[in-house]
Every structure is written in structure tokens, then in C-alpha cells.
Amino acid sequence: MDGVKSIPSPAISADERSHEVDHPSSQVAHFGTEQPLRLDCGVDLTPFQIAYQTYGELNADRSNAVLICHALTGDQHVANVHPVTGKPGWWETLVGPGRPIDPKHYFIICSNVIGGCMGSTGPASINPATGKVWGLDFPVITIPDMVRAQAMLIDRLGIDTLFAVVGGSMGGMQVLQWTAAYPGRVFSALAIACATRHSAQNIAFHELGRQAVMADPDWHGGGYADQGIHPHRGLAVARMAAHITYLSDAALHRKFGRRMQDRDLPTFSFDADFQVESYLRYQGSSFVERFDANSYLYLTRAMDYFDIAADHGGVLAKAFADIKTRFCVVSFTSDWLFPTSESRALVHALNASSARVSFAEIETDRGHDAFLLDVPEFFDISRAFLQSAGKARGLTSKND
């Protein structure tokens, strides 16, 4: 398979990656055996740790805290240079000086989810019971588990009510879970390009990704860490498939069309003749530099299990009964992974609960990824929503 072989090897060693897993270059909250994390699967995870970044300062009233929830392959480095890749923070379009979520006004917190691989406890961490990497012995986690762990972090930081919880995609799922599980602790919620449950099609794509990882002989039944290797090829293929779902036909056509990569004629081989192939291979190979394969399995699984209505007797509106949180729901026209219809179902449930909700669908051809890109209308809406909520929250006038 020339095509797969040509995915370049990662530039960093497995050692560097595992260093961020155990000793992240972020702040870390340790939770000892007296504070276990009770998981939905019935297991108490203990001890565990959460790696997080903060920006800005908590005000005297402790009323300006904003929690950013990251998406599937994101991490806590929302607005700073990434310690592994050296790239800018993944949401610097939205978070940072002069941005809608400005550290001048807000105390911004972003933590790596439980099950992640950037310093919070996950399958790539060391299992204290065995002294070895957890691998598939790590318990299966859910979105509610991630949020439960975040709530413990927020407690640790001495914050009772978050001014806002903000996230897109899997981050948006966490936002919704926060409002359903801790309605009194979330003053406003900005849920972007997400849904209250993972659709059959999305589960199918995740299963494809997981099978690609598992089909890599280097995966070793999940025990690759003991062998000192990493299933790069399987994980890269998983990322390539997933990446297609983050874009749109129109965006791919605009960006690449049928253009050739550094050549004028086809090579009549399985080399990356087309620019779009070369782009996808790059996406795959750069991803494996910073992500753990087992962590990818666990986090995709958590998204698959997510279904807020199922946790509330099958009636979504019950999850938000009498909620006081101010909601802003945003979707993008070309997002086929979390289409507008999913957001609309959420909005209907929020209406049925008489919740205060704004809902905007933004026109763009950039697909699901639009929430991470430079889409001015999205920023205007986010800024106005948070300013209006800030006014209601009584945040001081330095808010403008």
C-alpha cells in the first residue's frame, strides 16, 4: 500500500508525547483517593488528575469565570502556543485579547477532558495499581463523566457559578451536559455546532475510525505502550476519515478541486496525485504527533454514548425544566456532522422549558470546522450574547 506508507512519520518521539501525558506543561489539579471520580460505568476512578490552562483573573465576586470545553481532538491549550506542536491555541479566533472571550474581562479556564492525553488522566496515563500504562484497562468514560470531573476542578478553584460555559462539537455536548447536570452553576451557555445526542451516522464514522486504529498491527490490542510503539498508520487513517466529515463538499472543491499536487499529469499509481489526498495525508500524520490512539478510542466512544434525552426519560425538555441559564445555540449551514436540525431540536426543547435562548444559523460553506475558523458573524453573535449576559450578571462596565 504505497498510499498509506507515504504518510510521513511523526516528527516527535513517543517519549515527548508521553511526557505531556504524565507531566503536562499546564497547571494540574490532583484528586486523591478521598475524592474519587464516580464514572457512569460504575467504576470510581482514583486517584486522577486534570490538566488545565487559565487566562485572565478571577474577579472579587468570583462571577466572571468562563469555562471553555474542547472538542474531540482539542486540549486545554485554547489560547496559548501548543507545547507539542508549537502551533497557536486552537481557538484563538474566539479567545484572547480583543476577542469575544477576552482575558481582560473574564477568568478563562480550559481543561483537558478525562480520557484525554494532554495531562488529564486517560488511557495513556500510568495506572497506579500496576505501574503500567492503563491502555484498554482504563474504564470507559462518558460526556457526563468529563463534566463531573470539570465540576470538581471548578470546585477546587473556588468557583460556585460559572459566568459562561462555551464549546463546540464535543465541547458543545459538554456545555449542554453542564446545563442539564448543574443548571444552577451555569449563568450562560454558548453551545456551538453540537447536538443533544450523537446520531447514527456520527457513531458510524466513529466506528470506522476506531476500526482503523484497531486494524493497525502496531495497536497490539491496545497494549502498544508496553511495546514502545504507537499505531500511527491506523490513527492517521482514522483522522483522515474524520477530517472529511469536518469539511464540506463545497469547501473541498473550493480549496482543492481536482488540482494535482506538484505534477501536471497523473502518475498512474496510488501516490498522492491530487492535492486533496496530500492534504488529508498531512492531516493524518500531523495528528498522530500529538494524540494517543487509545485516547481517540475512548473519546469517540464517549461522544457515541451521549444522549441527554435518554438520561431524562426520553423527553429532552425535561433535561432543562425550569432552567434559568441563558442559552445561545449556533449552527452552520454546511455542517453535515452536526446539522442545523440537531440544534433546532435542542432549541425546541429549550422553548418547551421556557428557557431564555438565542439561536442563530450562520451561512458558510466551511462545514463543521467553521466553528474554529474566522467567521465574523459567529464572533459578533458570541460577543453580543456574552455582553448581554454580562450585563444581566452585573459584570462591571470594563466589559466593553
Partner: protein
């Protein structure tokens, strides 16, 4: 349905007080302070902003994406939706008032919409252009064509207004579905209320639009 699309109220836009439209001021005066309001067909959120200045908790539904996004960018709680199809999602008694401003004539089922307004809200405030207005009558009678005015400039084939009615028609509908009219105001072409002591037929003839505060009738 954007108000601008349905009914560009040119004559009213420069209404009596400041930058707020005369009919909006009239509607806002009907709402008790501290209440919870849903504005169906809220356009670009002008009425919601007016209500906000009076400390009223306002929400909106708007059909056009551009209108919704402009509202949300003003910090208003507005969702994209259709009066004909989306009101059913709201529970009974969710609001103190539900407002339908210059939108009734553009709905597919005005009667069902009106019933929903008074299910969701304890009161409804409905305003609409009066097709019994003398200028309308004259155009049909003398001109022999479907009426067009500066406030309703669209031709019959491209108008979004598919269910025109007169003030008299509306009153009959309210009677038929047991809706109580708590307050009724007709505004003339310049947005001024027509004196209350004049008989109904005067309103129906000289009212350019009607504004009604409604509640559920008894004995249902």
C-alpha cells in the same frame, strides 16, 4: 417573517416618539412592566429592544435568518422559527404576553396561530394592516385592481401577505373562537389613534391598522 418584508411602515417609521415606531410604542404601552413576552415575527428586534428598555423579559421568533442573526448580535433572545409551525413547541402559559406585530396576514393559518398565541400567552397583542381602510377600498372600487399602498407596496403576485382582513373581519374571528378583546385601537395613516368614541365603522374605514390586546374568553 421580517416586518420589513411584510410591511415596510414608511409612514410610521418616523412616528411620534424618538426612533421607535408608533405602533411599537402603542404595543409596548399595553405590556405591564416586569412581564415575560414573546414577539412572534420580531424582525430585527426593534420592539424587543424597546421592551428591554422598560425592563421586560422579551424573547423573539423570526423567520428570516438575517433578521435572527441581527437580533442575536444585539444580545436579544431570538430564535429562527415560523409562526405557523413552531408555536406548537411552546408550553401553555409560558408567557404573560405574546405579540404578533404586522405578521398575522402573512401566516398560512391565522386562526390556528391566534389560538396558539392565547394558549402560550395569557394575553396576546395583535396588530395588522386594515384592508377595510378607505384607500384600499377606493383602489378596488375605482381602480379595479388589488390595493397597494406605500405601507403595502407589493403586487398581488409577490406579496407575502396572503390573508388580509379588515378590522371587522378580525373582530368576527375573535368572537368565533371566544377571544376577549380587552383593548382595541385603530391607528390612522400617521400612526395616531382614532378617538375611542367613534363607532366601529369609522375605525374600519379610517384605521390604517388595528392593534388589539386580547385574552381568553370565559366559558370555553
Amino acid at each position: 417573517m421580517s416586518v420589513q418584508e411584510v410591511l415596510p411602515l414608511g409612514g410610521l417609521a418616523t412616528g411620534q416618539s424618538g426612533h421607535f415606531r408608533a405602533d411599537h410604542l402603542l404595543v409596548a404601552d399595553m405590556v405591564k412592566p416586569g412581564s415575560k413576552v414573546l414577539d412572534v415575527g420580531c424582525g430585527e428586534g426593534d420592539l424587543l429592544q424597546l421592551l428591554e428598555t422598560r425592563g421586560i423579559d422579551g424573547r423573539g421568533i423570526e423567520l428570516s435568518r438575517e433578521g435572527v442573526n441581527r437580533c442575536v448580535a444585539k444580545g436579544l433572545a431570538v430564535v429562527q422559527g415560523d409562526a405557523d409551525t413552531d408555536l406548537v413547541n411552546y408550553p401553555d402559559d409560558a408567557f404573560d404576553y405574546v405579540i404578533l406585530s404586522q405578521t398575522l396576514q402573512a401566516t398560512r393559518q391565522p386562526r390556528v396561530v391566534l389560538e396558539n398565541l392565547l394558549r402560550i400567552g395569557r394575553r396576546a397583542i395583535v396588530s395588522f394592516p386594515n384592508f377595510g381602510f378607505w384607500k384600499m377600498r377606493l383602489q378596488l372600487l375605482i381602480g379595479g385592481h388589488m390595493p397597494r399602498t406605500e405601507n403595502l407596496p407589493a403586487t398581488w403576485y409577490d406579496t407575502a401577505n396572503i390573508h388580509f382582513c379588515t378590522i371587522k373581519d378580525f373582530v368576527q374571528l375573535c368572537d368565533a373562537i371566544n377571544v376577549k378583546m380587552e383593548r382595541s385601537v385603530a391607528l390612522d395613516l400617521y400612526g395616531r389613534p382614532i378617538p375611542l368614541n367613534l363607532p366601529w365603522w369609522v375605525w374600519n374605514m379610517f384605521g390604517e391598522q388595528g392593534v388589539f390586546l386580547l385574552s381568553r374568553g370565559g366559558g370555553k
